[in-house]
C-alpha cells in the first residue's frame, strides 16, 4: 500500500501537470498542416487517433521472497543475506471493457524473473584446519507467471486533466522456482530435486503518471505512427503470496516501470 508521504508529491505533480496541460493547446496547434476535421478535439494527452485495446508494462523492482515466513529458522536470510534482489518482468493486459466514467477493466498476464546467489556452506571443518576458500554458490531462481483482473481508473486524466491513473490488480500466480547447487539442480539428502512450482495470489495497487502531457504533439505522432495511445511511468505496491505446503516465494514490495496503452 502506498504510504502517506508518497501521496503528497504525487498530488503536487498532478497539479503541476494539470497546469501544463492547460498550456499545451498552444503548442499542440502547431501539429500538422492539414485542416482539422470538424469532429476533431483539441490535441491533448487523450486525443487518441487509434483505438485502445491493450496495455503493456515493463516492470522492475526489488524482490524479497517470504521463504522464511513458514520456517522456524531463517534459512533464506542466513544463506542469501539481506541485500536487495531485483525482479524484472513484463505484463500484457487486454483492456476488454471501458467502464463508463471510470476507466478500463480487463485481464492481464504477467511474467517475472529473479535470481539470487549465496555461497554454499561447509558441512564440517576438521579440527586444526583453516576454513576452505569456498567458491561454489547456490542460486535460487524464481519465475512467477500470473493472470490478473486489472482496473485502471483513467477518468481523472481523461476528463479532469489530472494525469494520474490509479489502478488495482488481483489474480492468481504460479511461480516456478529451482535451486542450482553449482553443479546442477540441487538435491536434498533424500534425493528430492530442488525445483517445484508454488501457487498463490498476485495483487497490486498503484498509480500511473501520464507522460504524454510533457509533449502532446509527440504523443499524438506516436499514436498515429505506432498505435501507442498513452505512455506512463508507474509505481505500485505489489503483493504475492504462496502459502500452504509449498515454498513461499512470494514478495511484497514496490515495483516501477513503463506502461504503454495501445
Amino acid at each position: 500500500m502506498a504510504s502517506p508521504p508518497r501521496i503528497a508529491p504525487l498530488l503536487a505533480a498532478a497539479f503541476v501537470s494539470a497546469a501544463l496541460m492547460q498550456a499545451s493547446p498552444a503548442s499542440a496547434q502547431l501539429v500538422g498542416s492539414e485542416p482539422r476535421p470538424a469532429t476533431s478535439k483539441r490535441v491533448g494527452p487523450y486525443a487518441d487517433v487509434s483505438s485502445q485495446h491493450a496495455a503493456f508494462e515493463v516492470r522492475f523492482g526489488p524482490y524479497s521472497p517470504k521463504i522464511d515466513d513458514s520456517l522456524s529458522t531463517p534459512v533464506y536470510a542466513d544463506f542469501f543475506g539481506d541485500t536487495n534482489r531485483y525482479m524484472f518482468g513484463f505484463e500484457v493486459d487486454w483492456q476488454a471493457w471501458r467502464v463508463p466514467y471510470v476507466g478500463t477493466l480487463g485481464l492481464g498476464v504477467g511474467w517475472g524473473y529473479t535470481q539470487m546467489a549465496g555461497t554454499n556452506k561447509v558441512e564440517v571443518v576438521p579440527d586444526g584446519e583453516a576454513p576452505p576458500n569456498i567458491a561454489q554458490e547456490s542460486t535460487l531462481n524464481i519465475m512467477p507467471v500470473y493472470g490478473v483482473g486489472v482496473l485502471r481508473i483513467d477518468t481523472f486524466a481523461r476528463n479532469f486533466y489530472v494525469p494520474i491513473v490509479p489502478y488495482a490488480k488481483f489474480g492468481l500466480a504460479w511461480a516456478f522456482w529451482w535451486v542450482d547447487d553449482g553443479l546442477g539442480t540441487a538435491t536434498n539428502d533424500v534425493g528430492q530435486k530442488g525445483r517445484d512450482t508454488s501457487l498463490g495470489y498476485q495483487a497490486a495497487i498503484g498509480g500511473m503518471f501520464l507522460l504524454d502531457i510533457f509533449d502532446p504533439a509527440s504523443a499524438l505522432a506516436a499514436d498515429i505512427e505506432s498505435g501507442v495511445n498513452n505512455s506512463y511511468i508507474f509505481f505500485e505496491w505489489s503483493m504475492s503470496d504462496y502459502g500452504g505446503d509449498q515454498m513461499n516465494v512470494g514478495s511484497s514490495n514496490w515495483v516501477t516501470g513503463l506502461a504503454f496503452e495501445m
Binding site: 471493457w97 485481464l107 576452505p132 567458491a135 536434498n188 505446503d245
Partner: protein, 441 residues
C-alpha cells in the same frame, strides 16, 4: 491516417482489426526472426562444407585426377573444426592420423608421387638438390585405375627435405618439433613421375579451409588460484597475456600421487581414476612421455628428474601437498585429465564433477582454434569437499516443496483446482462482457 478521432476502448471495429493485424505482423516478425536465427548456422555450415568438394582436379593431360572430399580424400580421425577439416593438430599427429587419397589414373607403369610444400613442387621435382620447401609424402606405382594412397599425418608434419624417398615410421616426437603457433599452410602436389621427371601433376590446397598443420598451443594464464566446491573446483585466472591464438582455456585435474604408470595404466588397474566426467581424448599416455614429460624435462634420459634448484626443489613441479609426476608447469598437459574448460574471455573456470575429499593438482592451459593445448600454468592444489547448498538447508529446516515442476502434492492439487475454477470464471465474465459489448455494437 484516419481523420476520425477514436474515443477509446472497443469503439472502433475497423481499428480493432488494425490492432489485430499489427499484433499478427509483430508475431510473424518474431517467428521469422527466430527461424532466421535457427537457420543461419545451418546456412553458414552449408557454405563451409561446400568448399572442398565436387570440383575434379586433373593433371593437364588427364593422366591422374581426384575429386576432393567425395571419397577422394579421407582421414581416419574426425577433424577438430569443420572450418579447417584437413588441418592436423597435435592430437592428430600424436595419434598418427592417416589421410587416404583415391587417385584415378589413365596410365599404368609410372609412379605416383605426392609432395607437400609451399613452393611449386612439380617444378622442383627434377632438381633433387634444390627442393626448397617441398618434401615427399608418398610414392606408389600406378598399376590400377584407382590408386589408394595412405599418408600418415606424421609424415606430413615431419618435413623431410632433400630426398625423393618418403620417410616411414615417423615417431611421435616429430609432433613436438614445430614451434610456429600459427601453423603452416601447405599445398599437396600429385605427380605422375616417369624417369625422375614429373610428366603431369595437379595441386590441391585443401579448398577454403586449406590444409596444413599446427602443433603449438597458446600461452596459459600467468597465475591461477583454486576455490573449493562440492565435487567441483573453481579456478580463477589472472595475469592473462594477450595471445591471439587462444580460443579457450582447459583445466587439468590430476589426483595427488598419480604416477606416470598410473596415467599409462601400467599398474594392473589399481591406479587413481581420471576425474569423473572426463572422457579420454587421447591414448593412455596422451603424450605424457613422448610429447609431455620428456619434453618438459621432468624425466630425463635416466628418469631421475631435471630442473632442480639448489635446494633440490623443482620449481615447476606440482606442490608437495598434491604432488603428481604427470603435471608440470610449462609441460604439455595430460589430456586424459581434462576437467573443465572456459572461453578465452573468462576469468573463472568451473571444473566438471570431481571426487570429494581427493586432493588434486590443478593447472590450466590455453587452447587454440585447432584444439591444441599449450603449456600448462603453475600448479595449485584443491580438494573438493561436501558442502550444504540452499535446498539442503531449506529442507533440513522443515521447508516444504520440491521434487520437480510436475510434482503435485494433494494440497497443491486443491489449490490448482481452485485456481482453475477462478480463472475459468474470470474468463467467462470477460467473454460475457465482450459479447454484450459486441451485441450493442
Amino acid at each position: 491516417m484516419r481523420a476520425r478521432v477514436a474515443s477509446g476502448v472497443g469503439d472502433n471495429p475497423r481499428a480493432h482489426a488494425g490492432f489485430a493485424s499489427r499484433w499478427l505482423a509483430c508475431v510473424l516478425a518474431i517467428v521469422a526472426g527466430l527461424l532466421a536465427l535457427v537457420a543461419a548456422p545451418e546456412l553458414a555450415s552449408a557454405q563451409t562444407t561446400s568448399n572442398n568438394s565436387l570440383t575434379r582436379l586433373s593433371s593437364p593431360g588427364g593422366s591422374i585426377s581426384m575429386v576432393p572430399n567425395a571419397q577422394g580424400v579421407e582421414r581416419e580421425r574426425d577433424y577438430y573444426t569443420p572450418t579447417r577439416p584437413w588441418w592436423i593438430n597435435y592430437e592428430d599427429c600424436y595419434e598418427n592420423d592417416v589421410f587416404t587419397f583415391s587417385i584415378e589414373s589413365q596410365v599404368t607403369g609410372d609412379t605416383l608421387e605426392i609432395w607437400a610444400g609451399s613452393d611449386n613442387c612439380a617444378t622442383n621435382r627434377p632438381n633433387t638438390s634444390n627442393l626448397g620447401q617441398c618434401w615427399i609424402l608418398a610414392s606408389v606405382p600406378l598399376q590400377t585405375r584407382t590408386n589408394t594412397v595412405r599418408v600418415p599425418a606424421r609424415t606430413i608434419v615431419a618435413r623431410n627435405l632433400g630426398t625423393t624417398v618418403p620417410v616411414t615410421n615417423v615417431g611421435p616426437e616429430v609432433c613436438d618439433v614445430s614451434t610456429d603457433p600459427t601453423g603452416e599452410e601447405l599445398t599437396l602436389y600429385f605427380m605422375v613421375v616417369d624417369g625422375g621427371q614429373a610428366d603431369e601433376s595437379f595441386a590441391w590446397d585443401g579448398g577454403t579451409g586449406g590444409i596444413g598443420f599446427d602443433m603449438v598451443g597458446p600461452s596459459p594464464p600467468g597465475r591461477i588460484s583454486v576455490g573449493v566446491g562440492e565435487n567441483q573446483l573453481a579456478i580463477d585466472l589472472d595475469d592473462i597475456s594477450t595471445d591471439p591464438q587462444r580460443q579457450r582455456y582447459e583445466a587439468f585435474c590430476v589426483p595427488q600421487g598419480t604416477t606416470i604408470n598410473d596415467a599409462l595404466g601400467l599398474d594392473g588397474g589399481t591406479s587413481s581414476p581420471p576425474p569423473g566426467g572426463s572422457t579420454p581424448a587421447a591414448p593412455l599416455d596422451g603424450g605424457l612421455l613422448d610429447g609431455g614429460l620428456l619434453d618438459a624435462g621432468l624425466l630425463d634420459a635416466g628418469g631421475s628428474g631435471a630442473g632442480l634448484d639448489a635446494g633440490g626443489v623443482d620449481p615447476d613441479a606440482a606442490p608437495e601437498a598434491c604432488f603428481t609426476e604427470v603435471l608440470r608447469r610449462g609441460g604439455r598437459p595430460p589430456l586424459e585429465y581434462r576437467c573443465g574448460r572456459a572461453n578465452a574471455v573468462s576469468r573463472t573456470l568451473q571444473t566438471g564433477r570431481l571426487a570429494n575429499n581427493t586432493m588434486y593438482a590443478v593447472a590450466v592451459a590455453g587452447q587454440d582454434a585447432l584444439g591444441n593445448a599449450g603449456p600448462v600454468s603453475q600448479i595449485e592444489c584443491g580438494r573438493p569437499i561436501p558442502l550444504r547448498d540452499f535446498y539442503e538447508e531449506y529442507t533440513e529446516g522443515g521447508g516444504p516443496g520440491g521434487g520437480g515442476f510436475c510434482n503435485l502434492s494433494p494440497g497443491t492439487l486443491q489449490q490448482a483446482a481452485g485456481a482453475l475454477g477462478a480463472a475459468t470464471l474470470a474468463l467467462a465474465l470477460g467473454c460475457l462482457g465482450w459479447r454484450r459489448r459486441k451485441g450493442r455494437a
